[in-house]
């Protein structure tokens, strides 16, 4: 398949990208292209203009930002996987990034692209949500910060405005009292998750904090709030509540009913794996 015709501009800087986005209706940002190009080739999307930000090298980094790790939005998944700072302080992120697609995808796809695409079946959106991370976006009015809980609005829909560019992703440093797990259930190694479960649990003996993020269980990445509360309250089978408040899709990889069952199994296993100490 060949995409429908489009114009193409290379952004030299974030400001330039913002300016280019403002110049045309129906302009789209192109970074690694691993979400956008397939839909262009199938002609599911027909943007008038592609603004290529893939060459803005200043947006590719992993830095220590005090109690957080800051990741440039154009950092490739492959570089996230190999980032020593993340391996030390938040190994959940490189672990999940290492399960995205296949090596070719991970060498092109970017963390900002994955988050801005807002795919409820994506790995990193649920990870960011469970970590209570945040992102910086730059638009005509300057920079603003969006918390993960505010970022995802609907399927393939985020809080970013049409002229905004994501520049940085920040995740908290985990401590020795943290345990984590990411279980990605999929038919083939390269597939999106049929269901994915992120668990981040803090505690030393008793559980002080618990976050459970869900992939492919609704229109956006979700938190399994009922499970989290049951866990903090010390209830006996918090995983049984994992599908509360979800609205899973039915497709050729599994019906909604099966996904509801699966998420309960996976949350139980993820919590066992994440239990600190």
């Amino acid at each position: 398949m060949i995409p429908a015709p489009f114009d193409y501009e290379v952004a030299e800087s974030v400001e330039h990208a913002v300016e280019l986005l403002g110049g045309r209706e129906d302009a789209k940002l192109l970074a690694g292209g691993h979400s956008l190009l397939p839909v262009l080739r199938l002609r599911f999307a027909r943007p008038a203009l592609l603004v290529d930000i893939g060459r803005i090298e200043a947006l590719s980094y992993v830095r220590d930002a005090g109690d957080r790790i800051a990741i440039g939005a154009l950092t490739r998944h492959h570089d996230v996987v190999g980032a020593a700072l993340l391996q030390e302080h938040c190994p959940l992120v490189p672990y999940a990034a290492g399960l995205i697609g296949d090596p070719q995808v991970r060498h092109r796809g970017t963390i900002g692209g994955s988050l801005a695409h807002g795919d409820p079946a994506g790995d990193l959106p649920a990870v960011l949500l469970a970590l209570d991370g945040e992102v910086d976006v730059v638009g005509p009015e300057g920079t603003r910060t969006i918390a993960a809980a505010e970022l995802f609005r609907g399927p393939f829909e985020t809080a970013l405005g049409p002229q905004e560019v994501m520049t940085e992703v920040r995740v908290p440093k985990l401590t020795g009292d943290h345990g984590w797990s990411y279980l990605k259930f999929r038919r083939r190694s390269m597939d999106w998750a049929t269901v994915g479960v992120v668990a981040v649990v803090k505690g030393n003996g008793s559980i002080e904090e618990a976050a459970v993020g869900l992939v492919s269980m609704g229109a956006t990445p979700l938190r399994a709030r009922a499970t989290e509360q049951a866990l903090l309250a010390g209830e006996s089978d918090p995983a049984a509540l994992a599908d509360d408040g979800t609205d899973p899709p039915s497709d050729t990889n599994g019906s909604a009913e099966y996904r509801r069952h699966l998420v309960r199994v996976l949350v139980r296993r993820a919590l066992e794996e994440a239990r600190p100490g």
């Binding site: 398949m1 060949i2 429908a4 015709p5 597939d191 049929t194 099966y258 699966l262 199994v265 996976l266």
Partner: protein, 786 residues
């Protein structure tokens, strides 16, 4: 002059693990793919396809496409009507009353599946052609569709072809022995009903075609991604009304087919018709998603099988009934595909009664046709699943029931009516069980169960026999297949010490160039590198029947052997003349003729035959020989496959932990290539068992229309295979070869599903439909709990 052949010894090049000669050009990007080819004046074609599975076409307006600046031409079906001298070919109508509705390259009145072509656009670039195809205005009146072949047989089902008054294409029967009496006497009867999931072949290279006309001479050259350049020439000359001698078909490097390119397609006819009408070269390349609609699918059958047995588990009779989807039209061999398994529903087992019936049914789906194994994986699956069901019913080990029933006398005239050439089924099973450590596996299985491990272990067997070679021609005629089962080889010993081998079988990834070189080098005493194998061009090799059904080596390779005999026979006359002795005094061993006193190399004879300065009287100059070989029988590979799986009873996930395959494919010419064929076949069989399924919704929309949703597995999803083999040469040909292209795909679905059901037997699960997706496994367990 005709000379008597002399029998040749097989030496060391046959059986050697020679690295593939084909690989270097593939690895360095110098292969010649149709899509990379450019010729002067070339324009690009795009096909406008129906988004409806069943719709009346009420209006087609190509004018908006013609208004596109880069468009050369655009046509509706009506505009092109006069290009066609006949329908697209179907070469196998199994019964006299088989219904073969017209099938023109574009649909005029009705669209009958999503992807049915309704108009065509030609532009100066591929991108422009695809853009302009969207501009063609087609008005459809959607109609109800039917996608399940059993439902399509029901009274009142929407008709795919109104004029037929039914969706039934044919019913074909084979009855042998007193089947009903044997069932009446049976102490045990087991029944199975199985679904053969619809599969999409997914060759790595999508289809492409390029036609260059020479209008002044009325000649056409067509490069096509085809398995069957010769069959394409014969049939397309009829579709287009082009004299066969004016049409040259070339299959350059072709990136896989698995049967999907064993066909003659609308796009080939369209490219020829447009090249003729416009007087310029036309090219078309299929998109991957387009191919999932427009290239044939495989399988899509419902099967019912019954075994009659005594209380020990000795099977006396088999009764099988198949309902097979044809799709919307008959492609090249659509109706015959399920019949390629018609003789195999008793598998490797000795039975007295045999009954098989198949009904082909039209549905509003992409046509089905040959996909790796074609009929034989289906038959193998049914009998191997049923034998396991029999063992379960009797509380016996599946190994024991198999051993009780194996055919052990060869050649064996089986109840179904054909004769199995050779085999040793116990030997293969022994090797497989030994490699697997069968007893230890059963112990581990019991231990896991005892400790309540939610991850169960399952062990599954498939002791298969299959038939390939598709010959002799007179049998093909008797089952109403339109072509012959022969093939050709020509050997041309060039004067300067190298050899051209021409073969009528047309490879598309199998490594014929290496294998044929080994055979010729071995028999004629050359180095493998001194042999060049030419193929896939009707101007270079005018006669051939091409590559499908694991036939290339068993037919074309044997033709090469006999051509070599003719070379040696002629060369011996010249050698004797040179040595000054009688031909009967000259011995031949691998490239050298030895007389009582002196000897001379075949290479020197090649030069002498070319200069022709001193040939014996009556001997023609040149050293070249051809042979057309029509085998006396099918060839019958067999083997024992064993899968070890782990089934997660909480998620339903199945993982293949180990896969052991012991195959008997007769003489092995190149073990590397044979192993590669088996690897690929097993991968596709595991794919059928666990991953792949073309799913249509009730309106006939393909829900798995791309490689995101149609799950072709890749290396991380599959185990490393443990291969071994036994070798019982086929007695029907001098090389002893049988065929290997499909064995893996034939044996493995049954082994995997037997293993999955074995894992869950104690949980009360008796069957899981393919592919055994996590959800299907979970549902089967839930069902068993009730």
């Amino acid at each position: 002059m005709m000379v008597a052949p002399i029998e040749l010894e097989i030496g060391e090049a046959i059986g050697a693990p020679v690295e593939r000669k084909e690989d270097h050009k593939l690895l360095v990007g110098q292969a010649q793919w149709v899509d990379n080819m450019r010729v002067p004046g070339m324009a690009y074609m795009a096909v406008v396809r129906s988004p409806y599975a069943h719709a009346r076409i009420t209006r087609v307006d190509v004018a908006p496409a013609l208004a596109h600046a880069d468009v050369v031409a655009a046509y509706s079906a009506a505009d092109l009507q006069e290009e066609w001298a006949g329908s697209l070919p179907c070469a196998w109508l199994p019964t006299e009353d088989t219904k073969a509705p017209p099938h023109l390259p574009l649909a005029a009145d009705k669209a009958r599946y999503v992807g049915d072509g309704v108009a065509v656009v030609v532009a100066s670039s591929r991108a422009a052609a695809e853009d302009a195809a969207e501009l063609v205005e087609v008005e459809y009146e959607p109609l109800p569709a039917i996608v399940d072949p059993e439902a399509a047989l029901a009274e009142g089902a929407p008709l795919v072809h109104d004029e037929l008054g039914t969706n039934r294409c044919y019913t074909w029967r084979l009855d042998a022995g007193e089947v009903d009496a044997l069932f009446d006497e049976a102490e045990v009867i087991v029944r199975g009903r199985f679904r053969q999931n619809r599969l999409i072949p997914t060759a790595i290279e999508p289809r492409a075609v390029l036609v260059q006309p020479l209008p002044a001479n009325g000649e056409f050259t067509m490069w096509s991604t085809t398995q069957v350049p010769h069959i394409a020439r014969v049939t397309l000359s009829g579709v287009l009304g082009i004299p066969e001698a004016k049409l040259r078909v070339i299959a350059p490097d072709v990136g896989g087919g698995f049967g999907s390119k064993l066909n003659v397609y609308a796009e080939e006819a369209l490219a020829l018709g447009l090249a003729r009408r416009l007087g310029r070269a036309i090219k078309w390349t299929e998109g991957r998603s387009e191919g999932y609609l427009a290239t044939i699918h495989g399988r899509d059958q419902w099967q019912e099988i019954e075994l009659a047995a005594n209380a020990d588990g000795k099977i006396s009779a088999v009764r099988a009934r198949v309902v097979a989807a044809m799709g919307a039209y008959l492609q090249l061999v659509t109706p015959g595909i399920p019949l390629l398994g018609a003789w195999l529903y008793a598998g490797a087992y000795d039975v007295q009664g045999y009954s098989f019936e198949c009904t082909g049914v039209f549905t509003h789906t992409t046509p089905t046709d040959a996909y790796r194994g074609a009929g034989r994986p289906e038959a193998t699956y049914a009998i191997e699943r049923a034998v396991d069901a029999l063992a379960a019913k009797l509380g016996k080990d599946p190994v024991e029931v198999r051993r009780l029933n194996f055919i052990r006398e060869f050649p064996n005239a089986i109840a179904a009516g054909l004769t199995i050439d050779s085999g040793d089924y116990d030997a293969g099973l022994d090797l497989a069980l030994g490699t697997a450590g069968y007893k230890e596996l059963r112990t581990e299985q019991a231990e896991r169960r005892a400790k309540g491990d939610p991850k169960r272990l399952g062990i599954g067997l498939s002791t298969y026999v299959e038939m390939c070679g598709l010959a002799p021609s007179k049998i093909l005629g008797a089952i109403r297949y339109s072509a012959g089962g022969w093939d050709t080889a020509t050997i041309r010993c060039l004067p300067t010490g190298t050899v051209q081998v021409l073969t009528g079988v047309s490879p598309h990834g199998q490594g014929h160039e290496t294998t044929w070189s080994q055979i010729a080098a071995d028999l004629l005493g050359y180095d493998v590198d001194e042999i060049e194998v030419l193929h896939g061009d009707t101007a270079v090799v005018p006669l051939g029947m091409d590559t499908y059904g694991s036939r290339s080596l068993a037919v074309g390779g044997v033709a090469l052997y006999f051509a070599a005999e003719r070379i040696v026979a002629k060369a011996r006359l010249i050698a004797a003349h040179k040595l000054g002795v009688e031909p009967s005094q000259v011995d031949y061993v691998r490239g050298r003729f030895t007389g009582p006193e002196d000897s001379i190399a075949l290479k020197d004879i090649a030069l002498a035959a070319w200069t022709a300065h001193d040939l014996p009287d009556g001997v023609e100059p040149g050293l070249e020989a051809s042979f057309v070989y029509d085998p006396p029988n099918f060839s019958w590979p067999s083997g024992a496959h064993l899968a070890v799986v782990e089934v997660d009873t909480e998620t339903g996930n199945v993982e293949v932990l180990r896969y052991i395959a012991v195959d008997d494919v007769g003489t092995v010419v190149n073990p590397l290539i044979v192993d590669g064929q088996i690897h690929g076949g097993i991968a596709q069989g595991i794919a059928q068992a666990l991953f792949e399924e073309a799913v249509y919704d009730d309106d006939g929309n393909l829900l798995t229309g791309n490689m995101v949703s149609y799950l072709v597995p890749s290396a991380p999803d599959l185990p490393s295979y443990e291969l071994d083999r036994t070798e019982t040469p086929s007695p029907t040909n001098p090389l002893g070869v049988k065929g290997v292209g499909e064995t893996g795909a034939i044996a493995s679905p049954a082994a995997v599903i037997n293993a999955v059901c074995d894992a869950l037997a104690a949980d009360g699960v008796t069957d899981i439909q393919m592919p055994a997706t996590p959800e299907r496994v979970w549902r089967a367990l839930e069902e068993a709990k009730r």
